[in-house]
Symmetry: C2
Subunit: 185 residues, 2 copies
């Protein structure tokens, strides 16, 4: 096994952040420009301009007539996948391991783009099962069993699939509730 699998990932650490930044800007303010991305990431406009040229050539980022950035289908898929992984790992580090939120966030952010889809799926199932050990419908059981088969056989069709995304969203909204509660105190 080559230890340099490292740098032949679908996207680099920096690309991961460029993509998720665009996605988040689109959600938050409806548009994303080079400067917005630069500000969000804390790097210069020049760096973003160059990086995005590469991502545009790879067909992950698109641009309209007004220099407004967007994500292609593939770009969206990747950004969503990374975001999901970040949420899953942060939740695991914070909830299961009991790490402080900021450290959980930091570590999740470092590894989000490196772990395989399969690993993320397995983690989602793991968390899910521990969170809702009580309410188990035969429906969810069947889904989980199907996913576990995938893991055993080492395959995953598309990440994140519907089920995984549902789990991730529940984890995220639960985590947001908690930090809101904390603010209220």
């Amino acid at each position: 096994m080559d230890w340099r699998e490292f740098d032949q990932n679908p996207v680099s650490h920096s690309a991961a952040h460029h993509l998720t930044a665009i996605q988040q800007l689109l959600e938050d303010q409806g548009y994303a420009r080079v400067s917005d991305v630069a500000r969000k990431l804390g790097i210069t406009r020049g760096s973003v301009s160059v990086s995005l040229k590469g991502l545009r050539q790879r067909g992950l980022v698109v641009e309209d007539q007004h220099k407004h950035l967007g994500l292609s289908d593939e770009g969206q898929r990747i950004a969503r996948g990374i975001h999901t992984k970040r949420v899953l790992f942060k939740a695991f580090l914070e909830k299961s391991l009991g790490l402080p939120a900021d450290l959980a966030e930091m570590d999740a952010c470092k590894i989000e783009h490196l772990v395989s889809d399969l690993t993320a799926e397995a983690l989602a199932i793991y968390i899910d099962r521990r969170e809702d050990a009580s309410d188990s419908s035969s429906d969810r059981d069947r889904q989980v069993n199907a996913l576990e088969d995938s893991i055993r056989e080492g395959r995953v069709e598309a990440f994140p699939g519907k089920e995984i995304e549902t789990i991730s969203e529940r984890l995220q909204s639960r985590s947001e509730e908690q930090s809101k509660d904390k603010d209220d105190e």
Copy 2:
């Protein structure tokens, strides 16, 4: 929080592998030279020569009169820490999440040098508790409680400490037994 905490880690991905390669070569064959490291890592002697120059300047790697490489105390500490993290994550991915061994190994290898010491400690405790939920001496309980206090307060003295290393070694030897069993079949 700066997303580029990434590249200001104690050691880079490549440095991590250079150090652990030296350590492993010393264990396996009693010595380590530039060529040995190059062969083990699958890169050229030239690359290793240059990389090690940096690690020597940083005081992590030492060299005797016969061009035999070694690790300084600091170098050993770092290499041992990385190795411990790799073992812990691999064990978690494989045993708790049920991922295939090769994928677990690959993912563990990608993230071993990125996760914080505190995260690794928390993971060790987590695994430990799940593995030996039955035999709990009040001694171990006290240790675990002390470590959990560290985690809550976000500090860790030296990684890996005695307790963590014990857990890691047990996980590793258990994993080796299992793969031996498999070979015997």
